[in-house]
Amino acid sequence: MTKVVVAMSGGVDSSVAVALLQQQGYEVVGMMLRLWSESGKEDSNRCCTPDAMALARRVAAKLDIPFYVVDAKDEFRKTVVEYFLEGYARGETPNPCLVCNRQIRWEFLLNRALALGADFMATGHYVRKRDIGDKHRLLRAVDRSKDQSYVLHVLNQEKLKRALFPVGDYAKPEIRKIAESFGLPTASRHDSQDLCFLAGDDYRNFLQRNAAEMLKPGQIVRRDGEVVGVHRGLANYTIGQRKGLGVSSPMPLYVLGKDAAANTVIVGAQDELGSRELIAYDVNWISGEAPSESFRAEVKIRYTAKEAPALVMPTDDEQVRVQFDVPQRDVTAGQAAVFYQGDVLLGGGLIR
């Protein structure tokens, strides 16, 4: 029998993933990651509270599959949390979920799943995998409002070969219905999108506790260098932010950028916001091959952003220049730019 490990979270999506795969005739094993939390906050880490673990265990018992918890605390802290802190130290707005998917879920956990003798690993992500010949493609979820392909642009052919995404073909309400029909105890849990290790807290408080040294006050300046105020540390500001700058000005000022070397926040008027271009580096191409020609694509610059039409121009195998048809607001260093053609995810990289 083909064996598949499902990365469970105690949530409805991964629980239904187990049920669906079982129905399709797979031998299913549940695994759950124990991720890092600040000391004393283990009970509110979104991904792996004792409650979530108990729920996953109940689902596993209900569906009669083996269930194992895998400790990834050290690994998570060394990779994801370090990346998060370093990103802010560089004046960027990092997206730790990307690193978690690349290093923890689809590397650390996948290796453990394969060691258990699994042929595949599945998650409850809303995304679809389609094969053409021996090539694997990643497609957006049927339920566009739940599509999570953005964070999975980091996968390569080798990992996709092992990946299954059984919920990507369904709309979220259908998934809840399936959960109910199986009597799964997770059927009524709510979605959440906060970073798991912030444990419901604001990221600024987290930085204050874990990297207070990076919250050095500095100057707020205009593009021409005119000093207009004082900031409370770069990490407290995001591109496009208007409120809370503490600067008095006849017209509203927005955060245009951050200069980590000079420790300054750069502000300007609304019409100065937006960029026509961006450079993305560390680009991963799902196909494994960088395109040689420029191509038209829809580009998504944040998990929650709407895709925007653009021309994507590869400058080398791992770097592209993206030229939008219309200037985009809030192009933020550290977030990913992900390229789609229709439903197909072609690849993506980090915004410089």
Binding site: L33, D71, L116
Partner: protein, 392 residues
């Protein structure tokens, strides 16, 4: 490697965690659920029948321990017996003599160590933690040197659950009694295989748990030497000579007694069955697996108990891989929440973290076969290797 075993029942090598109920024990229990279901405290004949059942169970347990029936208290489990012994004896001794120190070892089961910690934190007792040697053994001179006039109670386990080491219980009780101090012994892990004659052991309090010797879970007993005062933890009706209130769990008490009777009666053949298998495991593991060591004592150990530490192995991961390959074992760092820390016992025997996290406990029982052990020994080296690879 044969991973298809998961579709069958995995091979059970965790008899120290619990054992299956012996069918003969189950037969003895069955009449007391729905037929002779009375409350032993009732006046009528239903009650009388239930009372007769627990009193004959008490006599059977007394016979197994060579003690008086009035020296046996039934409880809900081994942990409750430990709790009642420690808390009850410590409070009673302090009332009688003012002594407020408890001596116990650094390798005790949590049922003892957590109770001692609570007595220290909330009840004003002082706990002195006795060192163990590198095999986890409490040496009698350590007890001798630590006892003083303020000592109320000494509690040392008969055999260690994690590493199988058997303590010199008779030497320790001799020292305690020379100083007029009470001695409690947690025999939960030992009772299945070692002599439990209360007079020979010369203990004042001895804890037992039914499910370690093919009895049901949820029932235990405490031997309380005649004349030993205890303050009850659970108050209420006058059951168990007012030392443990609550309607007795009649079928489970009957099952406990039958299981213990069989354990004593069949002890020799059970030891003869498991000991060569244990020795085969110890010899083979140390020979075939690099950077492995035996934990616990080589000679003074439970006959069904083999335990190891592997350098640079995550014990939880090892258990997961073993389970997936069809072998149910245990570890000193076992934790279902994936939060591995070396156990106190691994620290007490001086293992560094890189060794202490990688512990493995293999415990055998009446259903263990040579074929099972050979198949386990064949699979283990590559599974340990795989666990090491994943930690890199």
């Amino acid at each position: 490697m044969d991973y298809n075993r998961t579709t069958m029942n995995p091979i059970y090598l965790d008899y120290a965690a619990t054992t299956p109920v012996d069918p003969r024990v189950l037969d003895a229990m069955m009449p007391y659920f729905s037929d002779s279901f009375g409350n032993p405290s009732s006046i009528h004949r239903y009650g009388q029948r239930a009372e007769a059942a627990i009193e004959s169970a008490r006599e059977a347990v007394a016979a197994a321990l060579s003690c008086g029936a009035d020296e046996i208290i039934f409880t809900s489990c081994g942990s409750e017996s430990d709790n009642l012994a420690l808390r009850g004896a410590a409070l009673a001794m302090r009332e009688q003599t003012g002594a407020n120190r408890i001596l116990t070892s650094k390798a005790e089961h949590h049922a003892v160590s957590k109770t001692a910690e609570q007595l220290e934190r909330y009840f004003g007792f002082e706990v002195k933690w006795l060192d163990v040697d590198e095999h986890g053994m409490v040496e009698s001179q350590t007890v001798e040197q630590s006892i003083d006039e303020r000592t109320a109670l000494v509690s040392v386990m008969y055999a260690n659950n994690e590493i199988g080491t058997v303590n010199p219980v008779r030497e320790i009780s001799e020292i305690c009694h020379r100083h007029g101090i009470l001695f409690h012994c947690d025999a939960v892990q030992a009772a299945a295989y070692l002599p439990i004659d209360a007079g020979w052991l010369d203990v004042d309090l001895l804890s037992l748990g039914g499910h370690k010797f093919y009895g049901p879970k949820g029932v235990g007993a405490l031997y309380v030497r005649k004349g030993t005062r205890l303050i009850p933890s659970q108050t209420g009706g006058g059951q168990e000579t007012s030392l443990r209130a609550g309607t007795q769990n009649v079928p489970y008490i009957v099952g406990f007694a039958e299981a213990l009777r069989l354990a004593v009666k069949e002890r020799q053949q059970r030891v003869t069955h498991v000991q060569p298998l244990r020795d085969r495991i110890i010899g083979s593991v140390l020979e075939t697996i690099p950077q492995s060591r035996l934990t616990g004592h080589l000679k003074s150990r439970l006959p069904n108990h083999a335990s190891f530490a592997f350098k640079n192995v995550d014990g939880n991961l090892l258990l997961t891989l073993l389970d997936a390959a069809g072998f149910a074992c245990s570890s000193g760092s076992a934790c279902k929440t994936g939060n591995p820390e070396p156990s106190e016992v691994m620290e007490a025997i001086g293992l560094s973290r890189e060794w202490g996290l990688g512990s493995l406990r293999v415990t055998l029982g009446v259903h263990t076969t040579t074929e099972q052990i050979e198949s386990f020994l064949w699979a283990l080296p590559s599974i340990v290797e795989k666990a090491r690879e994943l930690l890199k």
